[in-house]
Amino acid sequence: MAVSGLVMLGYLVLHMIGNLKIFFGASELNGYAAWLRTIGQPFLGHAWFLWIARVALVAAVVVHGVAAYQLSRRDLAARPTGYQHSGARRTRARQSYATRTMRWGGVILALFIVWHILDLTTLTVNPVADPGHPYQNIVGAFRTWYDGGIYCVAMLALGLHVRHGFWSAAQTLGANSPGRDRALKLTANLLALVLTAGFLSVPIAVMTGIVR
């Protein structure tokens, strides 16, 4: 979980930076999108790199999902009979909201990835659906309330997921220690905040008319 999660996290950081090019205008973003297809040339063929990256990402998603499924099944089996006490627990609840929502947050993100690909990669559900012009597709999509809404909810879920996930991955990989704990938690919060803010800036900019 930790390794696949970190792979996706690294991708998200680059993705988010790329997205911000939308603020420099259509040609900048569309040029950037076209450039992505030329990485590695002439050693690699046209868009080969993109496909390699896509395969790697799909693998990461699948590994992450399968591992999450197996872990969840094991965890549920580890407590066949639950606690009946339903009232509030008075003190000492340690789990944060981010931690508690990892499982359902992950499901939301998985569904969103499917939607996101249909929307902006295959353009199947995109209202503009103009191949080669991602800027126009993005702006078109976010002008519809449901597309922007789905995106915003998913990005909030992403922030929560990263907040616990990054620190948890460090813990799982044994990178944590008493001296580093604070720094790691800070990094996790910062990453979560920057990613969420960066990704959200695009639909918000479109919906508020800053980007047209």
Binding site: R74, D75, R79, Q84, H85, R90, R92, T99, Q171, G174
Partner: protein, 244 residues
């Protein structure tokens, strides 16, 4: 104080169980939670009813025998063992739910008594330093840095009560296992067996049917001895170093 208790009653490992309601009165705030249950049991015996079974022994917070989930929290609202929890932390008229540790690896034996022998098997798989009696060099032959000795001690404080498993939403025994791995692996005496130990103990832990760790931190907040979540980080590091 007068209290309403809803206690898990289950006559045997395979019998169905349920929360049963009891009223207790005249409870002193100075009583420990177990003394409050003693009071209930004395009344039950005189009524000819079977008293509530629960594990307990030293009643000073060190043997690790006692443990019950009180109002949804392992060992109740204070960070201590059930025997050191006092009734002054409850209010007159309160309804208190008392349930056993819940884990597939800790089957219920009777009422609030569970079988924690899985912990013994984890220790037996590698939670020791092989040092047959009589084979030891002089105690000062290997100096141990004070920081290492203190770190080892802080993790060796684990009393094996099982609150970490009971509190974990995944029923994981990572904190218990990690505490012993840290205790032994940070000492020079534990170094020769360091890699095999962590592999064997994690293997034994998984085989017992405990859940997986998702770093929720509930274990550490329930631990009456204050063993921290960093132990799990160290366990993972040792495990990755040990390889499979």
């Amino acid at each position: 104080m007068n209290l309403t208790l809803r206690i898990w009653r289950q006559s045997g490992p395979d019998a169905p169980g349920e929360l049963t309601t009891y009223q207790v009165s005249g409870i002193s705030p100075e009583m420990s939670f177990l003394e409050m249950l003693d009071t209930l049991n004395e009344e039950l015996i005189l009524r000819g009813e079977v008293p509530v079974a629960f594990d307990h022994d030293c009643r000073e917070g060190i043997c690790g025998a006692c443990g019950m989930v009180i109002n949804g929290q392992a060992h109740g609202p204070e960070r201590t063992t059930t025997c050191q929890l006092h009734m002054r932390h409850f209010q007159d008229g309160e309804v208190i739910d008392v349930e056993p540790w819940r884990s597939a690896a800790f089957p219920v034996v009777k009422d609030l008594v569970v079988d924690r022998s899985a912990f013994d098997r984890i220790i037996g798989s590698g939670g020791y330093i092989t040092a047959p009696t009589g084979s030891a060099p002089d105690a000062h032959a290997t100096p141990v840095p004070k920081e290492a000795a203190d770190l080892a001690f802080e993790h060796a404080e684990c009393i094996g009560c099982g609150a970490c498993v009971a509190a974990c939403p995944n029923g994981s025994a990572m904190l218990f296992t990690a505490a012993k791995v840290v205790h032994l692996n940070v000492l020079p005496q534990g170094a020769p067996e360091r890699r095999g130990r962590v592999r064997a103990m994690v293997g034994a832990m998984d085989a017992e049917g405990f859940g997986g760790c998702t770093n929720t931190g509930e274990c550490a907040s329930a631990c009456p001895k204050g063993i921290g979540l960093n132990a799990i980080g160290t366990l993972n590091r040792e495990f990755l170093r040990g390889g499979r």
